[in-house]
Symmetry: C2
């Protein structure tokens, strides 16, 4: 199982509704009023989406506070990442990370260089110094499954290394809004006109819309043009297009979600820290990587599945062993349920 | 403008609602009851679509009457075509045809060999005899923009040529259901277990859902496996997944649509044939390619735009000159409107 969120595979193994801790979705769900917006857009399903996504890009440009000519959209963040990879000479991934960085590179016949994260899951900047021209360095920020966000100074250092080498830095910030307020990469790199850098975000996680498939991002005009030559036409569907013209203006929902996750992150982390035999890693986002000191992932997975909880086994991240699991931060009732179940272990 | 259906570009040039003759969508719209199905599936937008699309593929397998292990799905037919192209050594396109065959090949750095259709837009089978190992021959069946469907005997001959060369035949049958009942490629190639052939269809045209993005197809098990390694995860969104589990069982709608188009095809073709200065080509589907004898496409396009009708200029198909336009077959009232406007020319 390369990805979380695959409840269908397990639905016959538990008598009741499964709780999904394996995919990291905002527990508050999508903004209010979205269903009505989608219903209104049904009539547009019988025509093609705007092939240039003019209204959608305007909405994203306002939300990200970046010029519209720097905006990219795609069928989920993964499609945009895929398009960057197609254009790269080869790809550098820091491991462990989202498996698709490597998988997409392999799909397009690109060489993959792996640079392991350090023991504490910070980036090995020293090892990045040999980056070469046209290489694409992909970094999760925060990274998945470790939950670690790159400190601002490190990010600037990495960017300077990448620029000097005439390589390219791709930041996957699909979980950006869940993070404590620190810096905004889109703001930071604006003064460079996003030369040599791409920042990808998505409606998937924070806006709780994995099914609608809406990824977006921001990069230099030259790269936007390059990617426009290879991206699939009409890759964002009509309903995702309509959703993207609606959700980003919901400031109250956005702030409420951030506050909610901050409180639950603190609660779940502290509770997990008290449980003997497991060790949660510090996280900046809405999921927690856990080291299993006494059991392997399979045992813990099945133990929790019997209790209706589906978590993420982490050996599927390839560069993690079977002594790690990842859990989403959900609403309080479910977080308590997870903690109680883990205490029973 | 590489594609039809881009009304947004022209909306300020006409005071009223534009009628879209530039994209070829079933004028009866989608099957009844679809909106209710989509509304019910809204709650599933907050989880990922089934990454294996088990229920969707079951529905498609029933509709196509082929084994489920031969079924492919994608974000529109164009994504599936794209995946075949990624795996090919190089690509053969017969011209003129849907521009994306060539564009996708270029995007992935594949060489493109062009074999022009004959003067009457039948396939130059003689010229196909030099097809080589691992080449991907893409044929529109019926072809876009010519509207010509490959006769069954020719199709078998072409398949035999392709198999002998150990090449691969990809049939783009996005307009299949609009055609007069003759043969079903999926039935024909079943006895070969779809070795060396892929057949692509879509909800886009016949089910009038270009905005929902649902393509599907059928190929040999080996190719399904090969493509599964490179296709994007979750490429079909939740609502397209739900739609695909619903629309194909609507036999009455399907038959009604076929009959409707057959009648309007006959009507529009006959009416267009009477107009001096234009020459419609024989078509097997729901659009008509027209040769302009007295004007160029730009003049006719603007003439019709002033009357609220958007047609397709055909020089954008690259291998057609500016003396051709393509019009969709729509409902009677709109077809009459088109005929009347063209008479005024």
């Amino acid at each position: 199982m390369k990805h979380g969120g695959d409840l269908l595979t397990y639905e016959n193994q538990y008598d009741g509704e499964l709780i999904d801790f394996s995919s990291n979705i905002n527990p508050l769900g999508p903004p209010n009023g979205l269903n009505e917006v989608l219903i209104k857009s049904f009539k547009e399903m019988t025509t093609y989406p705007d092939i240039k996504y003019r209204k959608l890009k305007t909405s994203i440009s306002n939300y990200l506070n970046c010029p519209i000519e720097n905006v990219l959209v795609g069928n989920g963040a993964v499609e945009i990442i895929n398009n960057f990879i197609i254009r790269a000479k080869n790809v550098i991934v820091c491991t462990p990370s989202f498996i698709e960085y490597e998988e997409r590179a392999i799909a397009h016949g690109k060489q993959v260089r792996k640079i392991p994260y350090k023991k504490d899951y910070t980036i090995d900047i020293e090892a990045l110094k040999n980056i070469k021209e046209n290489e694409l360095l992909i970094l999760g920020n925060p990274n998945n499954p470790t939950g670690f966000r790159i400190p601002q100074d490190d990010l600037i250092n990495i960017y300077n290394l990448v620029r000097k080498a005439e390589a390219f830095l791709l930041l996957d910030e699909a979980f950006y809004e869940f993070c404590p307020k620190d810096y905004d990469s889109i703001e930071i790199f604006k003064k460079y006109d996003y030369e040599g850098v791409g920042i990808i975000r998505a409606a998937t996680k924070f806006f709780a819309l994995p099914g609608i498939r809406l990824g977006y991002g921001c990069t230099c005009v030259e790269k936007v043009r390059e990617i426009s030559k290879i991206e699939l036409p009409w890759s964002v569907n009509t309903l995702a297009d309509a959703a993207g013209q609606y959700i980003f203006s919901h400031k109250e929902y956005i702030n409420k979600s951030k506050d909610y996750i901050a409180i639950e992150r603190k609660f779940l982390f502290e509770e997990l820290s008290k449980i003997v035999g497991i060790q949660p890693y510090i996280t900046h986002t809405n999921y927690i990587l856990i080291k299993l000191e006494k059991w392997d992932e399979e045992y813990v997975f099945n133990f929790l599945l019997k209790r209706g909880l589906v978590i993420r086994k982490c050996s599927s991240f390839k560069d993690l062993d079977d002594k790690h699991i990842r859990v989403a931060i959900k609403d309080r009732a479910n977080n308590v349920r997870l903690v109680e179940a883990l205490k029973e272990l």
